[in-house]
Amino acid sequence: MGLLGLLAAVEGDVGAIGKGLVYGLAAIGPGIGIGFLVGKAVEAMARQPEAAGMVRTTMFLGIAFVEALALFGFVLSFII
């Protein structure tokens, strides 16, 4: 609870720390997700180079979906 205690202690000037936390925490999951996604896509392209075009299209689609979560965090850090 150290972090929450710190946040409670700096009540009134929570803005900067809170904003940083929002974006930082929001970027963890999508970061791992995109890592897995692209890694698997490269694996698939290496196994079957003739399917590279299809894999690449699907990969970009997947990245677009995963990335949206991180971008929500980015936008929220401006809103709060």
């Binding site: 299209t57 970009f60 689609l61 990335e67």
Partner: protein
């Protein structure tokens, strides 16, 4: 040396007292024409300029089409062909070719407005103003819903999008609300937020690096850091070109996926 150059150009420029990082206020521009609700700021003028640029590009490229294309016609044809083969045929199949003009206009509009972010003397990505991606997302929302209703009828469209087949009956209690939210709310929201947030982030980072360069060049001892900041900012300009193309591509391909999904739910 650089500071003397700057002071030669503008004699009233003084070194700043402290570093003030640029914030979201760099996206707010004053009214140029009119005031209040009916106000044209420079973002709006850039958007009109982008329409003129796109029309001019297409007219010049395809006014006198040749069988063996060269120059501008060659370039434009390869982009349109990429959208046709890489997006429409890949995602929608031959039945989606009727959406090719719409998707091409969408791609060019988003791309030109993104690339404004790094064009000298303009340097403002129009799509970083939320209203413009939001309008595009609402447009796409109407198009894929109307396409689905036209293809399957209202009942059939709602049934295929809210009650996906092959799910045990009791699970529908869980699946239907999720599908309702994801199809009709999250899709347009993510489309708009993705584009706007990418452009806001890119513009902010470029501004921070170049403002940092300007701030660091006042003292001799920090000039190496100014050079580093300038180099990184320049590299990020190249990255912004990539992001501009990629976001236009992703917006277009997601539109194609949504239209294809509402027209042919079995895929």
């Amino acid at each position: 040396m650089l500071s003397t150059l700057v002071s030669l150009i503008a004699s009233d420029v003084r070194p700043p007292a402290g570093f003030e990082p640029p914030g979201t206020e760099i996206f707010e521009t004053p009214c140029l024409i009119g005031s209040g609700t009916y106000c044209a700021n420079r973002v709006m003028l850039y958007m009109a300029l982008s329409a003129i640029i796109i029309v001019a590009l297409f007219v010049v490229a395809f006014r006198k089409p040749k069988l063996v294309p060269s120059g501008l016609q060659n370039g434009m044809e390869s982009v349109v062909e990429f959208i046709r083969n890489g997006i429409v045929m890949e995602v929608m199949g031959p039945s989606g070719l009727k959406y090719l003009p719409f998707l091409t206009s969408l791609f060019f509009f988003i791309f030109v407005n993104n690339i404004f972010g790094i064009l000298p003397f303009i340097q403002f990505p129009v799509n970083s103003r939320m209203a413009i991606p939001a309008f595009l997302a609402v447009l796409v929302w109407f198009i894929y819903n109307i396409a689905g209703i036209k293809a399957q009828g209202l009942g059939g469209y709602l049934k295929s999008s809210l009650f996906p087949p092959g799910v045990p009956t009791l699970i529908y209690i869980l699946v239907t609300p999720i599908e309702l939210v994801s199809t009709f709310i999250v899709r347009p929201l993510t489309l708009a937020v993705r584009l706007a947030a990418n452009m806001i982030a890119g513009h902010l980072i470029l501004t921070i690096f170049f403002v940092g360069t300007w701030y660091l060049q006042w003292k001799l001892i920090t000039i190496p850091f100014a050079a580093l900041s300038f180099a990184l900012g320049t590299a990020l300009v190249a990255f912004e070109i990539l992001v501009a193309v990629l976001q236009a591509y992703i917006f277009t391909i997601l539109t194609a996926v949504y239209i294809a999904g509402s027209e042919h739910p079995e895929h």
